[in-house]
């Protein structure tokens, strides 16, 4: 790997790319159109679940009082789950988006002068969950005021990443960033078969350029383009639609690492997809085959709360889901520590796929 060759190709690639209007359109204008679209549709609105499953493991006047208050608020249709059932299994089996658990020690803690903790469970779309969180918190605050005017004793804790706002746009900004990274895959899906057919890899090899230098230069350029389009996305999200993101040096740097990891991953997947397609028709088939399931199941465009349980399960195995969830945790909730292991997985997974792609990607003629 020689940096001088990487930079020589970077310059060549950048110049030819800038000359292509359609490429620029897809890189810059398309994400902007998407955020304008999603922003216009969803800004300010938030989902409200029609029902809230509650299981009370600590029956007492206090706990039933809280549940009654939640029910009376009219914001939730409360459904009580008998103690005999396992809440977690119930959530999985019925794709419950949010369930409230009154833990066994709730009453004891509260009466003992401590804090009564309620647990909000669920494994679904964080936006929906965070909307529930906010609503529940509002109700609890009112209960707290009724119970005692001095200290807050009812606290809601949650077992999914929850933020301080419930606005859907907060969720779509990281989602669309994820989408821009995912779509870089298409650069490779189209370029690899095209360059092979035109025998451009052979021609490039005459310049002494190696395939890893070629991939590196491509990724560097894509990264630069991603930074530009994602900055535009964030700026529009914040200033046009009032998205509230946690932006500081740390979250920005960690987001850049996540974006790079995703780029690394999807570039490699793109090369592999490009290698199996040898003509134009198969290119789009293969590309869409890889892209669409990921796009829909990762929850970027449709909240998975409406999807059947098995799709939710599938989505858990899609890299894009982890990738976007990491971005949401970091950008929406400023939560870096909880995603660090995911980032490590992302980078390791990417490195493995990258190594496979480079191995299979031969510049020689048979």
């Amino acid at each position: 790997m020689k940096l001088s060759r990487v930079s020589a190709y970077f310059v060549l690639h950048a110049k030819s790319y800038m000359r292509s209007r359609s490429a620029l359109f897809f890189q810059i204008a398309f994400p902007i159109i998407l955020i304008l679209l999603f922003g216009a549709i969803f800004s300010g609105s938030s989902y409200s679940p029609t029902s809230l499953v509650i299981q009370n493991e600590s029956p007492s006047a206090a706990s039933w009082g809280v549940i009654g208050a939640i029910n009376d608020s009219g914001l939730f249709k409360v459904q009580i789950l008998p103690e005999s059932q396992n809440l977690s299994q119930y959530i999985d089996a019925h794709s419950v988006q949010a369930a409230l658990l009154v833990p066994a020690n709730f009453t004891e803690n509260l009466y003992g002068g401590g804090t009564g903790v309620l647990v909000l469970k669920g494994h679904t779309n964080p936006t929906v969950a965070s909307a529930d969180y906010e609503t529940l918190n509002g109700i609890l605050t009112q209960i707290n005021f009724k119970v005692s005017n001095t200290s807050q004793r009812l606290v809601l804790s949650s077992q999914v990443a929850l933020g301080n706002t419930g606005k859907t746009i907060d969720y779509y900004v990281p989602g669309l960033i994820g989408f821009t990274v995912l779509s870089t895959m298409f650069n490779m899906v189209y370029t690899v078969p095209n360059y092979r057919r035109e025998r451009l890899f052979r021609q490039l090899s005459f310049s002494g350029l190696t395939k890893s230098e070629w991939i590196t230069a491509n990724m560097m350029f894509s990264f630069l383009m991603l930074v530009v389009s994602d900055i535009i996305l964030v700026v529009i999200g914040i200033y046009a639609f009032g998205a509230s993101l946690t932006l500081n040096v740390e979250t920005i740097l960690v987001s850049a690492v996540i974006i790079f990891g995703g780029l690394f991953f999807f570039t490699s997947v793109g090369i592999l997809a490009g290698l199996v397609s040898d003509n134009e028709e198969t290119v789009s088939v293969v590309g869409n085959l890889v892209m669409f399931p990921m796009m829909f199941l990762s929850g970027v465009f449709f909240p998975l709360s409406f999807a059947p349980a098995y799709l939710v399960t599938i989505s858990k195995f899609l890299p894009l889901t982890y990738f976007i969830n990491s971005l949401i945790s970091v950008l929406d909730y400023g939560n870096i520590s909880s995603v660090s292991i995911q980032i490590v997985y992302l980078l390791i997974g990417s490195a493995i796929i990258f190594a496979i792609a480079v191995r299979l990607f031969s510049w020689k003629q048979k």
């Binding site: 001088s4 020589a8 190709y9 000359r19 021609q203 005459f206 002494g208 020689k364 048979k366």
Partner: protein
């Protein structure tokens, strides 16, 4: 002993269905222009690509500048390559392409000078896709020159060029030869080989059927030389009277010659007898005539098998 820059020994390349190169051997000396001639599908490009390290061989030995092109990672920096179906990134301009090569090959050559040399200066900033076929070809040649290579592989460098552009490429090749470059040239234009090549090898169906200087090959395979005289019936009767065998072909009288000396005898004979001939030419077979006949004969033999 001249220094060998390329040596090929019993080279074989088989694809799944055919053997494209079937046990050929040759070598190229330093500073020599060596031309591979042969009909479509003879195996020229396959041979050249194996020497470039682009394709792996099935068997046989190959050395380029003392290295095995299949293994060497550094050989490419000493080679200049114009492939047969040259293509480039469709949105890049010749100047950008040359600058890129200059950057990767760490070459000191002047991009403007190279563009000048192949007559592409006025298209320096035109995207590749908008160049004409011949202009694309010129860019390919220009790229092969950036690193001032020791060996040039030019696979049909002038196909698709107009006659003037072709002459220009010829003069570039002559200049390169003058600078001591070794050149492997494949072509379908026999006159090109005759003009430029020190030695040629004629390939057919994966085998080398003959090699040597163009002169040697013509000498070995040519049929008799002819004297062509433009003249009327009076010339014919004089020829018959002198006992010369001839054929009439339209306005011309064609006489087969045992030697070139015989031509002077006939002209003297006619001149002394005040024959009415308007002009005459001496017709030797060219490399092309020999080539067409050789390749044709071999083809027929094969079919007869």
């Amino acid at each position: 002993m001249p220094e060998k820059v390329i040596s090929v020994n019993e080279l074989v390349k088989s694809y799944s269905d055919i053997t494209a190169v079937n046990g050929i051997s040759f070598s190229i000396n330093k500073g020599e222009v060596f031309s591979l001639l042969g009909p479509n599908g003879a195996g020229k490009t396959t041979t050249v690509e194996i020497l470039e390290g682009v394709r792996n061989r099935t068997s046989g030995d190959v050395a380029v500048l003392g290295e095995d092109p299949e293994m060497s990672k550094t050989l490419i920096f000493k080679l200049g390559i114009l492939p047969q179906d040259f293509s480039f990134i469709y949105n890049s301009t010749p100047r950008e392409a040359l600058n890129f090569y200059k950057g990767t090959l760490k070459a000191s050559g002047d991009v403007g000078e190279i563009l000048e040399m192949v007559e592409l200066t006025d298209k320096a900033t035109t995207p590749f896709q908008k160049l004409s076929g011949g202009q694309k070809q010129k860019l390919g040649l220009a790229l092969s020159l950036v690193n001032d290579p020791e060996i040039l592989f030019l696979d049909e460098p002038t196909s698709g060029l107009d006659p003037r552009a072709r002459r220009n490429i010829w003069s570039v090749i002559k200049t390169l030869k003058g600078r001591g470059k070794s050149i492997l040239l494949t072509t379908h234009y026999l006159e090109e080989a005759e003009l430029l090549a020190d030695r040629v090898a004629i390939m057919n169906k994966g085998k080398i059927v003959d090699s040597g200087t163009p002169m040697e090959i013509v000498e070995r395979h040519h049929e008799e030389d002819n004297l062509i005289i433009r003249g009327d019936g009076q010339v014919e009767s004089l020829m018959a009277a002198g006992g010369y065998k001839f054929q009439r072909e339209g306005a011309y009288i064609k006489v087969g010659l045992k030697s070139i000396r015989e031509a002077t005898e006939i002209i003297n004979y006619l001149y002394e007898r005040k024959a009415n001939f308007e002009d005459f030419t001496l017709k030797r077979e060219s490399l092309e005539d020999v080539f067409v006949r050789m390749v044709g004969e071999i083809g027929e033999e094969d079919e007869a098998e």
